[in-house]
Amino acid sequence: MNVRKELRDIETVAVMNLQWVRRLPLLFFGYALILPSVFAFMFIVISKGTNLNYVLLGTIIFSVVQPTFLGMAKNLMSDKFTGMLTYYKLLPISPLSLSLGVSLSSLAISAPALVLYTAFAIYVGAIGPVTVLGIIIVIVATVLTWIFFSGLGYLFAMSSSRVKQAQMSVDIIWAVLIFFSPAYYSTDVLPQGLRYVFYLNPVTYYSDLFRDCLTSSGSLLFILIDLAVIGALSVAMMLPMFRGWKWVDK
């Protein structure tokens, strides 16, 4: 593998995928800032402003998970159904470079919300005190989560065969992943049995780890268990992208 070429290809795909922002800056603004803010506002109202740290950290989690999964799945599906994916497959680039480039562009769209809400969370005291180790773990976990949801988006896009069904299914899956997890609210409000069901959702591990690290509320053992689970899931999801699953039809 020529790492330099792979990195150049990832950058080219990401920049190419972000070109629409120049044409539709208002849509970018809406997608990058208004959408996460709507959910933040909704949960602040529901919790009557008492759970601000949950809502703000939830918005930050949303900013990573939502564009990565949704952007990846929808971009690849669009290319698949217009024939562009066939064109890309026949370019001298690897499936991994194409996938990560697409995913990186989606993540870049979420950057304004990520920065804005992180700054706001620090300002209102929802984050901290944070240790250096905690910050490192959060960064590693964020990268792993990004890889996991890129892989999930890739799997979904490559296995779908009908455009309408696929696009609607992606929206349902995304909503389940975000809202059936402790991203925006504590699972303490749920019945005991349902809390265990939440552990089938990968966002739960990321939410727990993220919150434990940034509010210094969890034990290191639980943080490391969450990190190990996220790591294992990311490796599992990266393999299909790396090997170009469904790149050639059977």
């Binding site: 080219t12 290319d79 217009t82 024939g83 562009m84 066939t86 064109y87 890309y88 026949l90």
Partner: protein, 249 residues
């Protein structure tokens, strides 16, 4: 000693889909460098399947395909810059201007930025789409979108072009424009062309040889004049209908 490499060599190729549909069976032919060949056949005759097997997007059940001496799909990386492929019904990305579509495809093919820009300008000029250079694909007509896709296939100067129904759904004016573009860009520059079409006129205009397919098998493989002479007809359309057992009367 001069090593002669065939552009495309297909040997005993077969494909049956998972649902049991036999797309093609025991297909063999050779296409020499610089040859223009048309694959003609009705819907479901296996043309697109065959083309997809040749450019490596679809695995074959049996047989062998080599493109420019490299086996497909095992040695795909060696042929990616040798071929230019236009899939059926493909349209370029609608969120990019024409220039950037071609520019980024060249960057991903390993061109540096300066080289990509110059090649992009040259391709746009040679295809006569300068007026659309800054236009977004979304704002272009279907015919112009196909032309842009063609530009993306031609920009890196591939030795072999594999085009799947490049004129499908286009009116006669646009079909003529595509023919002119292909004639100038491919036939006159001695590129190898394999083109599928429902329209005998496309193939008659652009190709010297025709392969007629029916139910996944080759019914005829030879030059167009030979087919006209064998069937005693004056157009490929009549010859084709006669070959398929329908005089069209």
């Amino acid at each position: 000693m001069l090593l002669v490499v065939e552009a495309i060599e297909v040997s005993h190729l077969s494909k049956t889909y998972a649902n049991g549909v036999k797309a093609n069976h025991d297909i063999s032919f050779v296409i020499h460098e610089g040859e223009s060949v048309g694959l003609l056949g009705p819907n479901g005759s296996g043309k697109t399947t065959l083309l997809r097997q040749i450019y490596g997007e679809l695995l074959s059940d049996g047989g062998k395909v080599t493109v420019w001496g490299h086996e497909v799909p095992a040695d795909m990386n060696s042929i990616k810059n040798v071929i230019g492929v236009m899939p059926q019904d493909a349209i370029p990305r609608t969120d990019l201007p024409v220039f950037l579509q071609i520019y980024y495809s060249l960057l991903l093919r390993g061109f540096d930025k300066k080289e990509a820009k110059a090649t992009c300008d040259k391709t746009i000029t040679s295809l006569g789409i300068q007026e659309y250079s800054k236009a977004y694909v979304l704002d272009l007509s279907g015919g112009t979108q196909r032309k842009v896709f063609l530009a993306m296939c031609l920009a890196h100067s591939p030795k072999i072009l594999l085009l799947d129904e490049p004129t499908v759904g286009l009116d006669i004016v646009f079909r003529n424009k595509i023919w002119q573009t292909l004639k100038t860009s491919i036939v006159e520059s001695k590129k190898t062309l394999l083109l599928t079409s429902h329209y005998p006129q496309d193939i008659e205009t652009l190709c010297e040889r025709v392969i007629c397919m029916e139910n996944g098998k080759i019914r005829y493989d030879g030059t167009i004049p030979d087919l006209l002479s064998t069937t005693r007809t004056d157009t490929l359309e009549r010859a084709y209908l006669q070959l398929m057992g329908d005089s069209g009367q």
